[in-house]
């Protein structure tokens, strides 16, 4: 695998290029999956860990301070291995040979926080999809930092109604999230 491929993969991850991501999944997920299945994990664990690994690469690459000195395939494998070992609470991090990965993964708080963030993201989206289409539209605009006036203009509401509507929708979503067992488990 060439440097060009590494660059293409990093660019594809940063730009959310689905075909590149597909290629990465095709080439690297089976290896990660095999490792996780051999180490007390399931297929779902493998997918979650792989997703987390890609996101870890994304965060580093988006900051512009990730220069791969090895093939992407090995790098993502090492990242995922680290994530899984952390998940298993095994203190064997030093066995992963890539110094670059060590450096990133020394920030163990990030690792845990990012894992929780991914779990929240899945849960929030799951609950969000249960809202009415109107509420989803309003909240998308609200979380996109659009003002009540802008929401009113786009939705054909009065400004006052837009304000009431968005908080009503937001509070409904918040209640759904807070009462879900997954959220309570995550926050415990």
């Amino acid at each position: 695998m060439s440097t060009n491929t590494n660059l293409r993969y990093l660019k594809g991850i940063i730009e959310n290029d689905f075909s590149v991501l597909q290629e990465i999944y095709r080439n690297s997920l089976p290896q990660v999956s095999k490792y996780i299945l051999q180490n007390s994990g399931t297929s779902d664990d493998a997918k979650d860990v792989f997703q987390e690994g890609i996101l870890a690469v994304f965060r580093r690459a988006a900051k512009g301070d990730l220069v791969l000195t090895t093939e992407f395939h090995y790098y993502i494998f090492a990242v995922c291995k680290k994530i899984w070992l952390k998940k298993l609470k095994k203190n064997r991090f030093q066995q992963v040979p890539l110094a670059q990965v060590e450096e990133y993964m020394m920030e163990e708080d990030h690792l845990e926080a990012n894992w929780v963030k991914s779990q929240k993201w899945a849960l929030f989206n799951q609950q969000f999809e249960k809202l009415s289409e109107e509420c989803r539209k309003v909240l998308k605009m609200m979380f996109g930092k659009q003002s009540s006036k802008e929401i009113a203009a786009q939705m054909g509401y009065s400004e006052d109604y837009a304000k009431r509507k968005k908080y009503k929708c937001k509070n409904r979503l918040a209640d759904m999230i807070k009462t879900s067992a997954d959220y309570q488990r995550l926050m415990s």
């Binding site: 997918k47 997703q51 996101l55």
Partner: protein, 366 residues
């Protein structure tokens, strides 16, 4: 107003910029010290971060789709390592049994499932009034290598999947091809298969039978000019349909995950003179949801109406489909290749890596 409502109202006022500077400052302090406000404010910030539009969230969405598509093997059985070891011990025994079985069988038995071949130098040994088993009995003729390739090994005819349709509805006209009227009495003689031409029109007939290439750029020749022109009976045989494939044309396999939408189909072709090349053309899109497509997952086959070749999936052409990404889950394919084919009925189909046929159509060469 209860505390919950009070908290919601303070968050709303803060977000709407309705608090004066002192109130804002107090809110920010309380958001750190007041446990309940802190919890609600954190949840709001999380929702804003995780449900808002950001590159990371967009990437998460794509990854979630890919996760849904990924088809990973289930966790292996903990006892698998011991059973694997047992298999290693069994391999020599199985090899020995296989060798003994092969030693006792006829050297030609492996060719049983290959299509019958007309011997150019000798008349047929017997009239074709026997049972199918007898028809396929090994002969002293050399084998027909129907699909030699560097990359795709010829399938073992005994193991090759035989595609059987689930039902047998009445035949209809195909989407594009024309069904030639079935002769009142089906011909008994085996269908004469064409020989291969390499490098355009340079004839290189293999000395021991015919050899058909899988590659699109290798045209398949008409019969050598020294051969007698095909008899009427032979021509009729060449147009004999394969009912199982006709059924699949009319009743394509359906799935929520895989859909094949052809945009250009191969049309019937009329040869002005022997050796005329057909420009085979087949294009469209494949939608594949909830799965990761390995490279070469779909294969295009071009088959004559030779039933034996169909049952062994030994196509005149076997070509992995090149898929180009169009949008999420959708890929475009476009196959164009020159072919020299003798008059007859031909089928082309798309099969996936699990030997499921997803698309069939046919055309005629006249």
């Amino acid at each position: 107003m209860g505390k919950k409502e009070d908290i919601d109202k303070r968050i709303q006022q803060f977000l709407e910029g309705e608090l004066n500077p002192e109130e804002r400052q107090r809110f920010e302090q309380d958001a750190e010290s007041d446990e309940e406000l802190s919890r609600e404010w954190t949840l709001h910030q999380d929702m804003e971060e995780l449900l808002g539009e950001s590159p990371e969230n967009a990437l998460r969405k794509s990854l979630q789709q890919l996760n849904a598509q990924a088809d990973l093997p289930p966790p292996s059985d903990p006892s698998s390592s011991s059973s694997r070891f047992l298999w290693l011990l069994l391999i020599p025994v199985l090899l020995l049994i296989g060798w003994l079985a092969l030693r006792d069988s006829s050297p030609d038995s492996q060719y049983k499932a290959l299509p019958p071949m007309e011997d150019n130098t000798a008349p047929p040994k017997q009239e074709n009034t026997n049972s199918p088993e007898q028809e396929e009995a090994p002969s002293t003729d050399p084998p027909i290598a129907n699909t030699p390739s560097d990359t795709d090994q010829p399938e073992d005819p005994d193991k090759a999947p035989v595609k059987k349709p689930k039902k047998d509805p009445p035949k209809k006209k195909s989407q594009q091809g024309t069904v030639v009227d079935k002769p009142s009495s089906p011909p008994k003689k085996p269908i004469k298969a064409p020989e291969i031409l390499k490098n355009g029109n340079t004839k290189e007939p293999p000395p021991q039978g015919l050899e058909l290439k899988e590659y699109a750029n290798v045209p398949i020749s008409p019969p050598p000019s020294s051969d007698p022109p095909p008899s009427e009976q032979l021509l009729a045989a060449a147009f004999e349909p394969i009912p199982e494939l006709d059924v699949m044309i009319d009743n394509p396999r359906r799935s929520d995950n895989i859909q094949i939408n052809p945009s250009t189909l191969q049309e019937d072709f009329v040869r002005e003179k022997p050796g005329d090349q057909l420009s085979f053309r087949f294009a469209g899109t494949i939608t594949a949801r909830n799965m990761i497509l390995p490279e070469g997952y779909f294969t295009l086959y071009l088959l004559s109406n030779d039933r034996t070749a169909f049952e062994a999936m030994q196509g005149l052409v076997k070509k992995p489909l090149t898929l180009n990404f169009v949008e999420t889950f959708t890929f475009r394919f476009n196959v164009q290749m020159p072919l020299s084919l003798t008059p007859g009925l031909y089928y082309y189909l798309i099969e996936d890596g699990e030997e499921n046929i997803w698309f069939v159509d046919k055309f005629t060469i006249k």
